[in-house]
Symmetry: C2
Subunit: 155 residues, 2 copies
């Protein structure tokens, strides 16, 4: 039942395969696995820099590869020309609510959706594998404030 923080799970995964746990990797994992937003490589590098850490591009990408392989991180492509990364959630099918202003992501599940996708797939002769639903909108914070940047900074 040990609901240990993600970073501890990363530490464990790394030591299991005897991989060196460098300060860079730790910092990258810390940021990536705890962000409420889906960060891009560039945003990540900026965050590291503002924390006083100058990490090389190659290291960042290579560490991301490690995190992806560990299964603790998942990549997403919103068609922006680059990838974004998010911590892996426990939920099997995670539907998402994405704020188009600040980029915050919230997740939810809906049993009806599960049934609906199976029904639709079947009626089209498809063997259903998985699905993905994203609802785009404006989150409460961003709807409230006059200056959206303030909401973003708050996150």
């Amino acid at each position: 039942m040990a609901d240990q923080p993600v970073i501890e799970r990363f530490r464990a995964w790394m030591s299991e395969r005897q991989l060196p746990l460098t300060p860079q990797r730790l910092a990258i994992a810390e940021l990536l696995l705890n962000s409420p937003r889906h960060l891009s490589a560039e945003e990540l590098i900026e965050s590291l820099a503002s924390n006083g850490l100058k990490v090389g591009t190659a290291t960042v990408y290579r560490t991301i590869d490690v995190l992806l392989e560990s299964g603790l991180l998942v990549e997403r492509d919103r068609g922006e020309g680059f990838r974004r990364f998010e911590p892996q959630r426990e939920l099997p099918h995670h539907e998402q609510l994405l704020c188009t202003v600040c980029g915050r992501v919230e997740e939810f599940r809906d049993a009806a959706l599960e049934r609906m996708t199976s029904r639709v797939a079947e009626s089209h002769g498809f063997v259903r594998e998985r699905h993905r639903l994203v609802i785009y909108g404006t989150c409460a914070d961003c709807s409230r404030v006059a200056d959206p940047a303030a909401a973003e900074a708050r996150s």
Copy 2:
């Protein structure tokens, strides 16, 4: 009521804004607006070549931009590292069934989904803007045949 072919709508759109209708543009529009598959730029160029037309890369991309602006074409990003393009359907069909073997795409609508997304957004304090649902699976053809390539060739 004139349910004119897409290509005629493209012609009309072009002449409305007095844009030259070159053979290249016509060929590209013809292929892109009538394909049952979501073509990539590269696939498009191959198709043009096999039709005896050697069109420059830049021209292809610039024509795609024109088609996107006309609203007759829509771009999709499946996270493959490049974009794919599909003709714009009339209905606000945001729901898709995508065959992971041959790439075929079928669309559908579901009223319940519309209601569900509004409800979920509201309960999370979000102002709902739009949504996107993709169900991944294997289509009837691809489930049936032993050799998936046969199904792809058939399309």
